[in-house]
């Protein structure tokens, strides 16, 4: 099956037919939403935090060029090498160049959506460099030749039985479906890899222009080992991840863990402010940071949609989305999924590739309520839908349908006559059943037309 966003419809059909997937996603998102709410209930200033974070992100984005230059200057003072990459290809070349220059044979990675975005693993593996994900969920999906299905819980779509079988098949260990045992197996294998890795690659949750440093938030400690054990560290970061001042971080650290995992605080926050081996006798000798554009400056051009660059990749919008809960992450066809993915895909990949993505939302606004950065996701999805229509990337049938519909709405008499027609014809359906609608009635019944019609009902109510 083709797994690009363009083929979302086929991916969705497959997901909807998979009861196990829907149960797994429903259970995991449900428990995260519950834990999140418990934490939020104990933070009386939650709404003010969201407001504050919005204002910080707005300020960063509206002064992005200045912040980036300050960040680069301060990184240089801390002996961090800053690289600028216009697109995924350039970022991959920079990273493989560092690896080749240093004769790297093994790379350990901590979870980074930005490296997923540039498809880094396959590129490095094809160059003969062993490249291993070390976050348990990421390790599982890498073993399964998949991409993550959730921003925070990458293997959400797999059951413990699936993972037990996967470990047994791929790692040659006796079958077990006990999570603690599965973790023990992964930990033992990965600990050896960590101790003998040449390069560590990570993303960056936040970077600080004023300090020339960055941090990674995590729970497993694999990110810390990725930073501190290998001789070289490379971080790949979208240009929007900056904060002007490290002192603003507590606002984000209060919002991110409850939104992401339903925790009051993540287990670890690791700060990297340059090579440390000389000073402390451990940690990296070289630290590189790759600042990635890859379409972000295109997003910045839109005065409203630039708000989607505020995303802190917490996944709260996914957990609250009724559509995501039904179709899971792989149906979106790319590394970003859920409401934020639906908004980012057409912006990063273009309207033709992402023509279905903004429609994968019921516009119920649950995502906007959950988003810690207060991104108006339903509003942006509507705007993106418009863009897809304006660029004629919607289907021919839809275009004709809407032309007919709009000509009807502008002719009241014709509208009145024709809207009576379906209710009249409905009488002739066998057993009084509703009309079959192609592409809809296969799994559920279409609603019966009301013989009174909207107009009559409206005026009845109005008269009352």
């Amino acid at each position: 099956m083709n797994t690009s966003p363009k083929h979302s419809k086929e991916l969705i059909r497959a997901a909807l037919a998979d009861g196990n997937l829907r149960a797994a996603v429903g259970k995991a998102t449900g428990s995260t939403v519950e834990s999140r709410q418990k934490i939020i209930d104990g933070i009386p200033y939650w709404e003010q935090l969201r407001e504050k974070v919005y204002s910080i992100k707005k300020d960063v984005i509206e002064n992005l060029d200045k912040n980036l230059l300050l960040f680069e200057e301060n990184c240089r003072k801390n002996n961090i090498t800053v690289h600028w990459a216009e697109d995924a290809g350039e970022a991959r070349e920079i990273i493989s160049g560092i690896a080749e220059k240093n004769g790297a044979k093994r790379i350990v990675k901590s979870k980074s959506l930005t490296t997923e975005e540039i498809n880094l693993n396959n590129f490095l593996i094809n160059k003969g460099i062993e490249t291993l994900e070390t976050d348990l969920g990421e390790y599982i999906v890498q073993l399964n030749d998949q991409i993550p299905s959730h921003l925070i819980i990458p293997a959400m779509h797999l059951s413990r039985k699936d993972i037990g079988k996967l470990f047994s098949d791929k790692l040659g260990v006796p079958y077990t479906e006990e999570p603690a045992e599965l973790l023990k197996i992964a930990r033992k294998i990965l600990r050896e890899k960590f101790l003998n890795a040449d390069i560590g690659i990570s993303g960056a949750n936040f970077a600080f222009a004023s300090a020339g440093s960055f941090c990674i938030v995590e729970n497993e400690a694999n990110a810390h080992l990725t930073i501190s054990l290998p001789r070289i560290h490379i971080a790949v970061m979208g240009i929007e991840k900056l904060l002007p001042d490290i002192k603003l971080l507590p606002y984000f650290l209060k919002l991110l863990p409850p939104s992401a995992t339903g925790q009051k605080s993540s287990t670890y926050v690791n700060f990297i402010g340059g090579p440390t081996r000389q000073k402390y006798g451990e940690g990296p000798e070289e630290v590189h940071i790759v600042l990635l554009d890859n379409g972000r400056t295109k997003i910045l051009k839109d005065p409203e949609l630039r708000e989607t660059l505020f995303c802190i990749r917490c996944g709260a919008c996914l957990n609250s989305c009724p559509v995501y809960k039904q179709i899971g992450g792989h149906s979106y066809g790319w590394v970003y999924m859920g409401p934020i993915g639906a908004a980012l895909i057409p912006q990063y990949l273009g309207e033709a590739e992402g023509k279905h993505s903004p429609f994968l939302s019921s516009l119920c606004c649950a995502c906007a309520e959950a988003c810690p950065a207060k991104i108006n996701l339903p509003g942006h999805l509507l705007k993106l839908r418009n863009k897809i229509v304006e660029t004629k990337n919607n289907s021919m049938i839809e275009r004709i349908g809407f032309k007919i519909y709009s000509s009807l709405l502008t002719r009241p008499l014709l509208y009145r006559i024709l809207t009576k027609f379906p209710a009249f014809m409905q009488k002739f359906m066998p057993g009084g059943r509703p009309f079959p609608v192609p592409g809809y009635s296969g799994r559920r019944e279409f609603t019966r037309f009301d013989p009174d019609g909207f107009r009559k009902r409206f005026f009845k109510m109005y008269d009352k």
Partner: protein
């Protein structure tokens, strides 16, 4: 033209288009600060009570002792129970007295800082317990703050299965806002925060401790009364 120039050029062009983003309520910060103040205990003992409650919620353990001697007695007991005869540690004034006393009880101390990088990671990874001293404890979330300038190594904390962290009674901070206000900027460049034992819930959301870091975290507050 370099990639940097091209990216910065595109940003400048994009920013010429006036933002249509929401107007911000500037009073948010004041409300956060006053709300924080209202929930922050004033007394040191209350801050530690808050720390203890938060740490225990996330599977950490908390003990306080009046003297280093009593703390050392307890630590030796824990290590004996775990059948551990060596602990990995770092050079810290705070730990000196405790280390001396547990050595007297027959526990060997492996000083990670005295080993060069390659040997340090291999040796430390082979030891099952560590004795560390964080720079601060953060009360409202049960968090420990390790500043590399104070600790000089993170390996004992991350590579050993059981961690015993000894904190000075006065080194408790109400929350992260206070931490970033107090801490020197240089020190914040290389540091790490620890909130409970390492964990994952990546398989069916089942919580398992000891993902890649320690399975057990014991925090000891020495009151020095």
């Amino acid at each position: 033209m370099s990639s940097k120039e091209k990216i910065l050029g595109r940003i400048s062009e994009a920013l010429k288009i006036k933002s249509q983003l929401r107007i911000i309520d500037n009073s948010a910060d004041e409300k956060i600060k006053s709300s924080l103040k209202s929930v922050t205990p004033e007394k040191l003992t209350d801050l530690w009570s808050q720390f203890k409650a938060e740490l225990e919620k996330i599977a950490g353990e908390y003990y306080s002792f009046n003297t280093e001697e009593a703390a050392a007695e307890f630590i030796s007991g824990v290590l004996a129970e775990l059948k551990i005869d060596t602990v990995s540690s770092h050079s810290s004034e705070m730990l000196a007295a405790v280390k001396e006393r547990i050595k007297e009880k027959g526990i060997k101390i492996s000083d990670a800082c005295s080993l060069e990088a390659g040997a340090r990671k291999q040796v430390t990874a082979g030891i099952n317990a560590s004795l560390v001293s964080p720079s601060f404890a953060v009360a409202d979330i049960g968090q420990l703050v390790f500043m590399m300038d104070d600790a000089e190594t993170s390996y004992p904390y991350f590579l050993c299965d059981n961690t015993i962290a000894v904190v000075k009674n006065e080194n408790i901070i109400a929350n992260q806002f206070e931490l970033f206000e107090k801490a020197e900027v240089e020190k914040t460049k290389n540091m790490f925060f620890v909130t409970g034992p390492s964990r994952t819930a990546d398989i069916e959301k089942v919580l398992v401790l000891g993902a890649h870091g320690p399975r057990r975290l014991i925090v000891i507050n020495i009151l020095n009364k």
